[in-house]
Symmetry: C2
Subunit: 305 residues, 2 copies
């Protein structure tokens, strides 16, 4: 029986331009990407905030998959958080064209009473101060997984350190890992991050996969080599969703379960980038997901003798 997940994060409308096209005001934000992936494995409840302008019908497919939006606050007369960005031709770099915080600016996450005992908590990338507020509202979750971003390392480091100290599994990208620790190598950074509290650190390396340090055990996960990426937005949140969802569905969160979770997160992220917004994530069938997981196995497999 999978454990129930609570995710607190951004719930946005994205406008994105890549070499493959452009979209305007489509569902985005860390909490939606996360939950579209996590719900493949376990029940998810989203805590976030949108304005009255949100096209709620666009979230019906997410609800149809089983995501609960009962924690989604709709601010009367409020305007939804909007992000606009343009990706470079190589899909590696991107320029932010605009950030309109709207109702997100005064977001105060309120965890519904019945959700405070959820055993699995994902703190998506929001203000560390808010992440601490969420932790204070929760009744000692079994598993706390946290994401963050460079902005908070620059502007809210002390709060962020407190969040990390209370985190079981930290997910960061390689740049953030280096920035947080001052270490040059990914391994050095992962070790330094573990000393800040988490028992497990997952460092995402984009097209180069991920490195997980669980206790002293290292796992190098490949990324699926892709010839075409339509839109990388949300790939990291999708990874986290598959990862946390998978863990929530495991009887025991041991090293083998963690490795499996990294692969499941990677597989779902590889779908996410095939289309804009949540489109591909919402259309993936169980069979397609199984097949993709098999591709990861074939990709990484070797025998020494």
């Amino acid at each position: 029986m999978p454990r129930e997940i609570l995710v607190v994060g951004s719930t946005a409308l994205d406008s994105v331009e890549t070499a493959h096209g452009r979209v305007t005001d489509v569902p985005g934000g860390s909490a939606f990407f996360f939950s579209a992936a996590a719900v493949r494995y376990a029940p998810v409840l989203v805590v976030g905030v949108v304005g009255e302008d949100y096209p709620l019908h666009r979230l019906e497919p997410l609800k149809a998959l089983g995501v609960s939006l009962e924690g989604l606050e709709i601010v009367p007369g409020g305007r939804t958080f909007r992000w606009g960005g343009r990706y470079h031709a190589d899909m590696m770099g991107r320029d932010t064209l605009f950030t309109e915080l709207g109702v997100f600016e005064s977001f105060q996450p309120r965890i519904p009473a019945e959700a405070r005992r959820r055993p699995v908590l994902f703190l998506a990338n929001i203000q560390p101060r808010l992440q601490l507020d969420v932790l204070d509202q929760m009744a000692d979750p079994e598993l706390i997984v946290t994401d963050t971003m460079n902005l908070w390392i620059d502007t809210a480091l002390e709060d962020l350190k407190q969040v990390i100290a209370r985190t079981h599994i930290l997910i960061v990208n390689d740049e953030e890992a280096r920035q947080l620790t001052g270490q040059r190598t990914v391994l050095g950074a992962a070790r330094a991050l573990r000393r800040m509290g988490p028992r497990t650190v997952v460092v995402k390396k984009g097209e180069h996969g991920a490195l997980m340090l669980n206790g002293e055990r290292l796992f190098a996960a490949p990324a699926l080599p892709l010839e075409q990426v339509v839109d990388p937005t949300g790939a990291g949140d999708t990874f986290a969703g598959g990862f946390v969802g998978s863990l929530a569905a495991e009887a025991v969160v041991d090293d083998a379960a963690l490795r499996r979770a990294v692969i499941r997160g990677s597989a779902l992220a590889s779908f996410s980038v095939e289309a804009f917004s949540l489109d591909r994530l919402l259309s993936v069938t169980a069979h397609e997901l199984d097949e993709r997981l098999g591709q990861f196995a074939a990709l990484a497999e070797f025998r020494l003798a």
Copy 2:
């Protein structure tokens, strides 16, 4: 019974400066790094050229491992090829301080008569024109593996294409793969390279491991995450040495053998960077190598259920 390998490449004296120290006029060059690794698995004969100034006693440990230097031409009165470089603090970039070609400038590889029937040929990174000359001297090797570098892509592309067309397995780094094909993704580049002739393409990605495209089968090999790299010089040639040596020792060069070869090459490369010159490669014991291979297995392993 391992097959015999012939390697044609540079045989140099390197002067290297890294964050961990500096060395002057130490054994280097693609053919020596390659053979120090390959000889762990199969007999190797080196074809190269040095000047009369070469400190030949420094090559005794290589001979002691079983490397044959009978194809090493010593030019009377000649001066050995010297390369000097300084690595940046992050060990990623490097500046070439000097390149003194010496006897390498007029190098005309002469394959000893008894070596022309060797079944395995490694064309290390030298002028494509010379690589073609070597191919013309050989009696149809079973396995031709080729390396190259950006300089020849810029200055000798047509010859290089001919070499690649006659190559069974091409080894390049990710930058070279993109430069050779104009493709943006590693996978796109690997596919385009296969269309140029080789049945198998190995793209080295440094600290991110390697991607092999064998027919339509993809293998993503991890690199061992290292906290300290003393000197990256020769890591790529060492990888090639372990890779080709391993293949020479296999009864059948199938996909499983190729994957094993990538891992063995990676393991030997991970030793090479632990010290300057060939020092660590020459001191690795069979037990240490086995242990390191076990670390690669533990690093990459996962089970989907």
